[in-house]
């Protein structure tokens, strides 16, 4: 890890990343506490463009918090993040967090980073196609015809075009999640984040969502996937990271992490899943 990348104030688009345009995400010394409870103790990693990173670990290991810090849904306490050509920087001097980013800057970063949630979070008062169109109109400033065309394109991609006029409550969990994926994809983000996207689905519905995620990975989408689907992580990821107590305990290609992990904790964790 490049240790010269200490925290600098403010947002400097592309500045530091410019040296290495092949990196989609760079995280340096990321810490996050909720009150007195420290959840992330200092996470650092680089993710090259086009790669799929799976983050695994027990509940409470900090994997969802890490993911949510990447698009600022959680404010990091310290450390620095470069993502999608933007720099989200925090005070690393231990004097508490300095949040110099404006709401507009944060919104710009988020527009480039798609996120899919465990609970789908479709808006129930809008139809499927309206759910996908909303941010295209409000954020991407497309007119309603362009937004509809693009929304339909991405709904077709997740095989949900037939349900365009229906309300989310009429759909199965798997269908809702596929719409949520289309909603994020339609923004044409540089990076996609998946926060336990299949954890609230039964196995059959999980399969249809994983199929869509496989398709994205094959297309070369940069993805960070927090998951309990070990088979998926093993098969689709370029890289697997095992988190334990807010630290990266194991980080490598799936064949090594799953077959021959260096960490005992990782081995124990995997044995519960792989038998």
């Amino acid at each position: 890890m490049n240790t010269t990348l200490t925290a600098v104030e403010g947002e400097r688009p592309c500045d530091t990343m410019g040296a290495d345009p092949s990196v989609a995400i760079r995280v340096v010394g990321l810490k996050k506490s909720f009150g007195d409870v420290a959840v992330l103790h200092g996470i650092s990693f680089d993710l090259p463009r086009g790669q799929v990173l799976s983050i695994i670990g027990a509940s409470g290991s900090g994997k969802s918090t890490l993911l949510r810090c990447l698009n600022y849904l959680e404010r990091p306490s310290a450390g620095a993040i470069w993502i999608a050509g933007h720099q989200l920087t925090f005070d690393a001097n231990g004097e508490g967090a300095r949040h110099s980013l404006s709401a507009a800057q944060i919104a710009r970063v988020r527009a480039e980073v798609g996120m899919v949630f465990q609970q789908f979070n479709l808006w129930p008062h809008m139809t499927v196609v309206q759910n996908v169109m909303e941010a295209l109109i409000q954020v991407r400033k497309l007119n309603s015809k362009e937004a509809r065309n693009r929304a339909e394109h991405y709904l077709a991609k997740v095989n949900m075009l037939d349900a365009a006029a229906r309300y989310p409550a009429r759909l199965s969990g798997g269908q809702q999640q596929r719409v949520a994926i289309a909603r994020a994809l339609a923004m044409e983000p540089q990076i996609m984040l998946f926060d336990e996207a299949t954890s609230s689905l039964d196995p059959e519905l999980t399969a249809e969502v994983l199929a869509v995620m496989r398709l994205l990975a094959r297309d070369g989408t940069t993805m960070v996937v927090v998951t309990h689907e070990m088979a998926f992580a093993r098969e689709v990821s370029d890289r697997v990271m095992f988190l334990h107590d807010g630290l990266i305990e194991e980080d490598g290609v799936p064949s090594v992490v799953f077959s021959n992990p260096g960490s005992n904790r990782c081995r124990q964790f995997l044995s519960k899943f792989l038998g």
Binding site: R110, W123, A135
Partner: protein, 223 residues
């Protein structure tokens, strides 16, 4: 005592009285909704002193009985203001009634607004934020459309309650329907059928309103 012919005979003046009830209802409901919205925004604010002040106001509004507050605002408040300002202040009975009923209603409305807004799942806001939407748009497009649907039935029944409460205002000499019934009852020495008529009149007005509420609610559910 169930003979409504006396009630019918005085229908013009009784209708006038009922219109005063409806006027006070409209004024105090508007006032209550406005103050209630402000108090709700204060209650949800991240600024602690504002949150505490709003919570205090809401509790006071909900704790004082309308009957007591009517008399207090009509008699004590002008007296206190007169003493403070050194000039004679007088509230018209309709103003006192509007203020008293509006303040009490605002406490209940504020809590209904808050419940509606907080019932919108947090994840719906996060999904909007994660797409790069900004707070005003999220409120306008995601939170309020859902919150209003959730709070509407409760708001409507609270408003019906408020309309019923307007029958208390004769205590401060507002010439509402109960006030007129009292006068006519004394003149004619036959108050009982007049009360029956008034009960019936309110039943009809509120039945009409409730039907409207159910109709609107059903319509919203379908959409």
């Amino acid at each position: 005592m169930f003979d409504l012919s006396l009630f019918w005979e005085y229908r013009a003046i009784l209708l006038q009285g009922m219109l005063i009830n409806l006027l006070i209802f409209a004024l105090s409901s508007t006032l209550g909704l406005t103050i209630g919205l402000i108090a709700c925004v204060g209650r949800l604010s991240s600024f602690a002193p504002l949150r505490a002040a709003s919570a205090g106001y809401i509790e006071i509004g909900r704790s004082i009985p309308e009957f007591v507050l009517l008399i207090w605002i009509n008699n004590v408040l002008p007296f206190a203001l007169s003493t403070m300002l050194g000039e004679r202040i007088h509230f018209s009975p309709i103003l006192s009634a509007t203020l008293a009923l509006g303040v009490v209603a605002s406490g209940y409305f504020a809590e209904t607004f808050r419940a509606g807004i907080q019932a919108v799942p947090r994840g719906h806001l996060e999904a909007a934020r994660a797409l790069g939407m900004r707070t005003p748009r999220i409120l306008g497009r995601i939170v309020l459309p859902q919150a209003i649907r959730l709070m509407l039935p409760e708001l409507m029944s609270q408003n019906i309650g408020l309309l019923k409460t307007t029958t208390l205002v004769s205590v401060i000499a507002v010439p509402d329907i109960m006030y007129q019934v009292g006068i006519i009852g004394q003149q004619e020495m036959k108050p009982l059928p007049l009360y029956t008529g008034t009960a019936f009149a309110f039943f009809l007005v509120i039945l009409a309103l409730t039907t409207l509420v159910h109709h609107t609610h059903g319509h919203l559910r379908r959409s």
